[in-house]
């Protein structure tokens, strides 16, 4: 009996028990779809977080202020103190003291209302230096970025995020227009290209200006020289740790601190963040896929269950096939083929459902996290479904093959 006949026979008997076959296939289908989707979701979130982190700029070190302690003894979290100053940033930019730091961009943030004609929009105003564009890996959609001279002169110029420009000026070209911030007129010299959003803020909704202008015209007072973050760019990935050492030593020295334990600042790197997030997301993926694999196992047991029922129910058919000359191997192959066909059908339909689900899921859950269906996962899942059919089909098939023909024929 050749394989064509075996497959034909297996197909015919599966079709003869449509409902039962369909329900068994459903078990495998759900398992495979769950595996494809959960792995896809894990890969998707991994990729998304990775993209967000690298959107912050590559080879980046982020210096944030340490914690503060109020007079009442209440300790704030990291970043609550205003220990970092413009002079820290200037010192870090010194190529002699810190040769591995290629560029420095201090950031001073303030939430302000921007007005243009009758329109107003509240957004985050960032005061920084001319090196910000390169350090943060941003590009301009229109106009120019402010210059070192602008920083020196505290020029009243600003560069708007793409969303901010649209909110204030609609479709009109924002470059050359004037916005009023804190009663001071600022000239829009450029518009940033869209960079999307990270987990904490919308990178397209902001207004960037010289840090000196922000200090003079908006912030003022005692906090005029403090900065909220200093971004450092290392020359390359290889010099990142050297840059870290230099920045740490320099800041400790400037703040007159004895050691890293007493540091009133924190230096974090993108790589550490990326590694943490990736490992968390990997753990999550494994967990999800593990649960999905369990459901697949349940599906496999379903195949075995139905095959055992099928063998018992078709005892007479087996007896007759044996009487007219089917050898035990032919009977075994027939039932194995049925079990594999059940598994494979479930696998193929499950993969299809997974691919379809991957397209619909982000919309259904209204998230931007993509579900990535990769070919190796789909092929692997289909192969696993076949193997499950095979493994869970062996016992029922062997039972059928071992049945004595007279006992089988006697069954009423």
């Amino acid at each position: 009996m050749n394989w064509v006949e075996i497959l034909r026979t297996a197909g015919a008997s599966l079709v003869a028990h449509r409902l039962r076959s369909a329900l068994t296939v459903l078990g495998i289908l759900i398992g495979i779809a769950a595996v494809v989707l959960s792995v896809g979701l894990g890969l998707g979130s991994q990729q998304q977080v990775g993209a967000q982190i690298s959107a912050l700029g590559s080879n980046l070190l982020i210096v944030t202020p340490g914690s503060s302690t109020s007079t009442a003894g209440i300790r704030g979290g990291f970043g609550s103190a205003s220990t970092l100053t413009v002079s820290d940033a200037t010192a870090l930019a010194n190529r002699v003291a810190a040769p591995d730091i290629a560029a420095v961009a201090p950031e001073k943030d303030s939430s302000q209302t921007l007005a243009a004609g009758s329109t107003n929009w509240t957004t985050s105003v960032i005061g920084t230096t001319d090196s910000w564009l390169g350090v943060r890996s941003r590009t301009l959609a229109d106009g120019d970025f402010f210059t070192a001279t602008d920083v020196e002169n505290a020029s009243a110029v600003t560069v708007l995020g793409s969303a901010t420009a649209t909110e204030l000026f609609g479709t009109t070209n924002a470059v050359g227009q004037t916005v009023t911030i804190n009663s001071q007129p600022f000239t829009v010299v450029g518009v940033l290209a869209s960079a999307g959003s990270n987990s904490t803020s919308n990178l397209d909704d902001e207004a960037v200006m010289p840090i000196t202008a922000l200090a003079n015209d908006i912030a003022g007072g005692s906090t005029r020289n403090s900065v909220s973050t200093i971004y450092l760019k290392a020359a390359s990935q290889q010099t990142l740790s050297a840059a870290y050492q230099e920045a740490d030593a320099l800041l400790l020295n400037l703040h007159r601190l004895s050691g890293s334990a007493n540091a009133d600042f924190t230096i974090s790197s993108q790589n550490a963040l990326l590694a943490t997030v990736t490992s968390v997301s990997k753990t999550l993926t494994v967990l999800l896929a593990g649960i999905a694999a369990l459901s697949l196992l349940v599906g496999g047991i379903g195949v075995m269950n139905i095959m055992l029922v099928s063998v018992t129910e078709r005892t007479r058919e087996i007896g007759l096939r044996k009487a007219i000359g089917a050898p035990p191997t032919a009977i075994r192959r027939q039932f194995l083929a049925e079990a594999i066909a059940l598994g494979l059908t479930g696998g193929l339909l499950g993969a299809l459902l997974g691919i379809l689900g991957a397209r619909l899921l982000p919309t259904l859950l209204s998230t931007t996290t993509p579900v990535i269906v990769s070919a190796p996962v789909v092929i692997g899942a289909v192969a696993v479904s076949m193997i499950i059919g095979l493994i869970f089909g062996v016992y029922p098939a062997t039972r059928a093959a071992r049945m004595a023909p007279i006992d089988a024929l006697r069954t009423e």
Binding site: M1, A16, K322, A323, G325, P328, I406
Partner: protein
């Protein structure tokens, strides 16, 4: 596949054959079912059936008639004694070899027809040839020929449920014929049929004998046994002697 040319050239009337299809010598069969005492179903039975013979095996239930049918049909093996089927000793064969013997040499006809409900008459008849590994083209020709012989050529695409009892049994006979076996073994072939269908089937058997087939029919119906050329009566695991000849007889025609 064996298509014994020896059967084809035989005269229409069955005569004592020179070459026996079935040769049983001192065959016993003992069942040991768990705690119960051993049951000896056959107690040293000897029987010879020649090529082209038409033999009826009769006996009450529990006589050993079914056991004899299973051994003749190679569905079971004897505990002791020898069984030669078409000259081949089948006593020591394993299940796979027995399956091959059944496929090539024996055509079964059962009381319950045992057609597979999900398959058409055509597919049911084709089945033994599929297990024999006959190529598709030859399979089609032989399946059609077998269905024509039983008069079902116009019902090939009907499923068993769409056929009458008599037609189902004719399809089953076509399935038995399709491999051109040495022996057609029928177990109560008319047990589930009305009298007109019974007559149809018995006429078909007569035709098959006329064409040179060897038929052994197990029955408890006198009407069926009367059509055979020879009747073998089983009682308590042995053949009941007739005319004082010791139980094994080749005197075809005298036992009617």
């Amino acid at each position: 596949m064996t298509a014994p040319s020896t059967t084809a050239g035989l005269p229409r009337t069955a005569t004592p054959a020179t070459r026996p299809v079935i040769e049983l010598r001192d065959v016993t069969k003992t069942y040991s079912s768990g705690s119960a005492a051993e049951v000896q179903a056959l107690k040293g039975l000897s029987l010879s059936v020649g090529t082209g013979e038409y033999v009826a095996v009769v006996g009450a239930s529990g006589s050993g008639k079914s056991t004899l049918m299973h051994i003749i049909g190679c569905l079971d093996t004897a505990t002791s004694g020898t069984y030669l089927l078409a000259g081949e000793n089948v006593g020591s064969l394993d299940e796979a070899d027995l399956a091959e013997i059944r496929n090539e040499r024996i055509g079964f006809v059962f009381q319950q027809f045992f057609l597979l409900a999900s398959l058409t008459a055509w597919r049911n008849v084709e089945l033994p040839l599929i297990y024999a590994g006959v190529p598709r083209r030859e399979r089609q020709a032989r399946t059609l020929a077998a269905l024509e012989r039983v008069g079902l050529a116009d019902r090939v695409n009907h499923k068993p449920a769409q056929l009458s009892g008599g037609q189902q049994q004719r399809a089953a006979i076509a399935r038995a014929l399709v491999t051109e076996p040495d022996l057609i073994l029928a177990d109560e072939p008319t047990g589930n049929l009305d009298s007109s269908a019974t007559e149809d089937i018995l006429t078909l058997f007569d035709e098959l004998i006329g064409q040179g087939s060897t038929v052994v029919v197990i029955t408890h119906e006198a009407e069926v046994a009367a059509r055979a050329h020879r009747t073998v009566r089983i009682k308590d695991g042995l053949i009941v002697p007739r005319h004082g000849d010791g139980g094994v007889t080749h005197m075809v025609g005298l036992t009617r």
